[in-house]
């Protein structure tokens, strides 16, 4: 069986070594307007490249939407 991670609530194969790679795979290069949390803890943009992903990690990738 393969290693998986949970990204924004959806299970997927672990295919990225770091947060930065995960974002890049989604076309997100620059940090502007995007924020990331891994396992319930914020990962600031400065650390995207440094933070490694492991099987079972839960990642949240968010941005602003219209709201009240």
């Amino acid at each position: 069986m393969n290693a998986t991670i949970r990204v924004n609530g959806t299970e997927e194969p672990l295919a990225a070594a770091t947060v930065a790679e995960l974002l890049a795979a989604r076309g997100i290069s620059r940090p502007r307007g995007v924020a990331v949390a891994v396992n319930g803890a914020l990962v600031t943009a400065r650390n995207w490249a440094a933070v490694a992903l492991a099987a079972g990690d839960t990642i949240e990738i968010v941005k602003p939407f219209g709201g009240g």
């Binding site: 924004n8 997100i28 995007v34 949390a37 914020l42 602003p64 009240g68």
Partner: protein, 255 residues
Amino acid sequence: MDALTIAGRALGSRLFMGSGGYPNQQVLLDSLTAGEPSLVTVAIRRISLEGYAESLLDVLGDRYALLPNTAGCMTVKDAVLTAELGREALQTHWVKLELIGDRETQYPDVIQLLEATETLVAAGFIVLPYCNDDPVTCRKLADVGAAAVMPLGSPIGSGLGIVNPHAIERIVATSPVPVILDAGVGTASDAALAMELGCDGVLLNTAVARARDPRRMAAAMRAAVVAGREARLAGRIPRRTLAEPSSPQLGLIGG
């Protein structure tokens, strides 16, 4: 209109607007132009997994001060993390804190709200909590460091206006921090009334976004907040049940 200061920051307008539920982005932009809010709230949500679309930040970021909210959060944990993600994404220490205790009415869970306010204040946030119209809870929120309190006039999006003006007046009379009427405004007179009761500002979204003509309603709200603020400062006449003629009672002909 006289300026409003929250947490040492002067805000040019006493109208805050939400950015949700507009027919489309152009109407949103036009409405904000018409309303001239000093703060524009945004929600923090997961990006669509299909990839990265244009961000509200690119659209609004240069022109408006964005205020991330924690809308929909029902636990301290989710609200605090959402606040941190909002701070990171928008590079602002300000947050509109929502902690919902009942999905149907969107009433806040004041117990968790107090806890989250305390936590976020300790973490360096400028916290503007959406709360109920309870003077005691509002006072406690200020005591734990809220930069302003934002009591509801009636349920979010209900358009019922200010159901309990006595409570709002009491909150205004006892609050050590600015009071922003948040939620329930349905039309311009509701916003004016909020200011007349002594609120320092009004935050609204649905009343404009879902109006038949959002641009026009935004302009109406802008004028209403000014009207209400000026009326408050002007000092209204007392209410009486009988009449007080405005024309002279003497000198009529035929007397």
